[in-house]
């Protein structure tokens, strides 16, 4: 079931709503090991995306849409999540250049390229207690399901679960990056807020996708 540009933007709007509604939970997680503003930063970025999407109503090229939104997110937020998600939109958009609708494979490629962008810019790896501890398992799961020819609904649901398991794993990890990277042992016992928002974004994406495509919500 191909996804149109309009549907893709509707999904982004729904992700933004979820982030807005859960921003306090994200800031609470950040209060424990960072500076307490992760939810605030994410909400600022997704609000800017929402406002920008209103101007993009007639744009059909999903790659071009993502390129614009990359700059929008980056400039509204700054901080470290601004460049990281700005890069995700940019790299994710680059593989969708010229596409006016997305196949299931396109969607997998989009997430893979987006996460690669985060990885390159953030110079973090699995186990560093960052958003990548959720994003890398999500992409790995999407890819392996796609290769094994799994049912698309299962592919999405399994990736959500992989992300959640990755997020949970950050509780045990010692932070290596960002503000919490200087905390040492004191970062252990807390979920990484970046991993939590990564899960939120991806699960919101999947929920919105299923609703728009009339798939069963499992």
């Amino acid at each position: 079931m191909p996804l149109s540009a309009r549907e893709f933007m509707r999904i982004l709007l729904e992700i933004g709503e979820r982030v807005e509604n859960e921003q306090h939970r994200l800031s609470e997680l950040d209060r424990a090991i960072g500076d307490g503003d992760h939810g605030v930063s994410m909400a600022i970025g997704w609000r800017a995306i929402r406002d920008k999407i209103k101007e993009l109503e007639h744009e059909e090229d999903i790659g071009a849409i993502l390129q614009v939104l990359s700059k929008t997110f980056l400039n509204a937020v700054g901080a470290s999540v601004g460049p990281l998600y700005g890069m995700a939109f940019l790299k994710g958009g680059a593989v969708l250049k010229g596409k006016t609708s997305l196949s299931e494979r396109d969607i997998v490629e989009f997430w893979a390229a987006a996460v690669d962008g985060i990885r390159q810019l953030g110079k973090a790896e699995l186990g560093d207690k960052t958003m990548l501890d959720a994003w890398i398992p999500i992409v790995n799961s999407l890819r392996s399901s796609m290769e094994s020819g799994a049912d698309w609904l299962n592919t999405l649901d399994q990736a959500v679960r992989a992300g959640e398991a990755g997020m949970e794993s950050t509780r045990q990890l010692l932070s290596q990056k960002g503000r919490s990277g200087r905390l040492g042992d004191r970062s252990v016992g807390h979920i990484d807020p970046g991993a939590a928002s990564a899960c939120l974004i991806f699960s919101s994406f999947v929920d919105a996708y299923k609703r728009i495509k009339g798939m069963n919500i499992g």
């Binding site: 980056l74 700054g78 960002g178």
Partner: protein
């Protein structure tokens, strides 16, 4: 926590509006992002100095744009690095062909945004160089200097950069002297009470009425050790201990000292802390060449203070003595 604001989403822009209105002789606001401020009069042919960082540290960082300090500043959201857009806008405005120095605190976000701006500036044929400030001795062990963050030492580093460029240093020479100054600067802070973000209004961390935390960051990042609140003399001694040790201060050394309030600590308390600081340095035979006491880099309404020491040589002493006139600091 109470705040005198209009709306949490507008605090940064409304603050800049007010700042620009208050200092029309010092500051001009660039039009595109609204978050980019430059000096009213630029010195011809000089290497540009661009600073930047999150809001919530007033008078940092906007206050350090002016004569003897930076040429321009990019202003971020609260406790968040500015994005590349205002940084690039400032860079273009202050470049006079001699290159531009980026000097800012070593935080992941600032590093990424300034680096992105540097790449964009290079595409427009503007040469930039970067010095990252790492004065916070509490933020990582000494063998991991590259992980340390920048705090109140900003002020002395900005001063060195501004003075050096006004004296005609090239970009490379400015990087050299700022790198040296950074290596010779240490800060240790203590927090007594939390700040709160306008959006959440919740304390950024919990600290009991009788507790203090040594090494707590200027964004409320947890610090090194938490303990019972001690007297000013004991706290000053504890903070200074790490600094004198790392800088290996000896009899006859000269230093610049900055005692900085974090937002809700009175000048009375800061002078009491400075009193002990001066006494300790004097007992070591270390000469205080110049001192600063006040609110220089705050953390919203956080309670507490920090002590910064820069170990001077002749070159740095000359730069610290260079006159300055910007809204946050005037020196004849």
């Amino acid at each position: 926590m109470k705040k005198l604001i209009n709306h949490p989403d507008r605090v940064v822009d409304e603050m800049i509006d007010g700042y620009v209105a208050a200092y029309p002789n010092h500051i001009a606001r660039l039009s595109t992002s609204g978050r980019a401020l430059v000096r009213k009069q630029l010195q011809k042919g000089k290497v540009g100095v661009v600073i930047g960082g999150g809001s919530g540290h007033e008078p940092g960082f906007m206050g350090y744009v002016g004569k003897g300090f930076a040429d321009g500043v990019a202003v971020g959201n609260i406790f968040a690095s500015p994005s590349p857009e205002p940084i690039l806008e400032v860079t273009k405005a202050v470049d006079q062909g001699a290159g531009v120095l980026y000097i800012y605190g070593n935080y992941a976000g600032d590093c990424m945004n300034f680096d992105m701006s540097a790449e964009l500036a290079a595409m427009e044929n503007i040469r930039t160089a970067t010095v990252r400030i790492t004065d916070d001795a509490a933020s990582a062990p000494i063998d991991q200097m590259e992980k340390r963050r920048g705090i109140a030492g900003f002020v002395l580093l900005f001063k060195v950069a501004g003075a050096a460029t006004e004296k005609g240093y090239s970009l490379d020479e400015t990087v050299r002297v700022c790198t040296k100054a950074n290596e010779r600067t240490r800060t240790m802070g203590v927090a007594l009470s939390p700040c709160s973000l306008p959006q959440t209004r919740k304390p950024a961390f919990e600290l009991a009425d009788d507790e203090m935390e040594i090494g707590l960051g200027i964004h409320g990042e947890p610090g090194m050790t938490r303990g019972k609140l001690a007297g000013a003399d004991e706290v000053a001694a504890q903070l200074l201990d790490r600094i004198t040790d790392e800088l290996q201060l000896r009899r006859g050394d000269r230093v610049a000292v900055l005692v900085n309030g974090l937002g809700s600590t009175t000048l009375m308390e800061l002078y009491i802390v400075f009193r002990k600081t001066a006494e300790i340095l004097d007992s070591l035979g270390v000469h205080i060449h110049r001192s600063y006491v006040g609110e220089y880099v705050t953390s919203l309404e956080m309670g507490g203070c920090s002590i910064t020491v820069m170990k001077l040589d002749d070159e740095l002493a000359g730069l610290i003595d260079h006159p300055a006139d910007c809204p946050a600091l005037t020196q004849l």
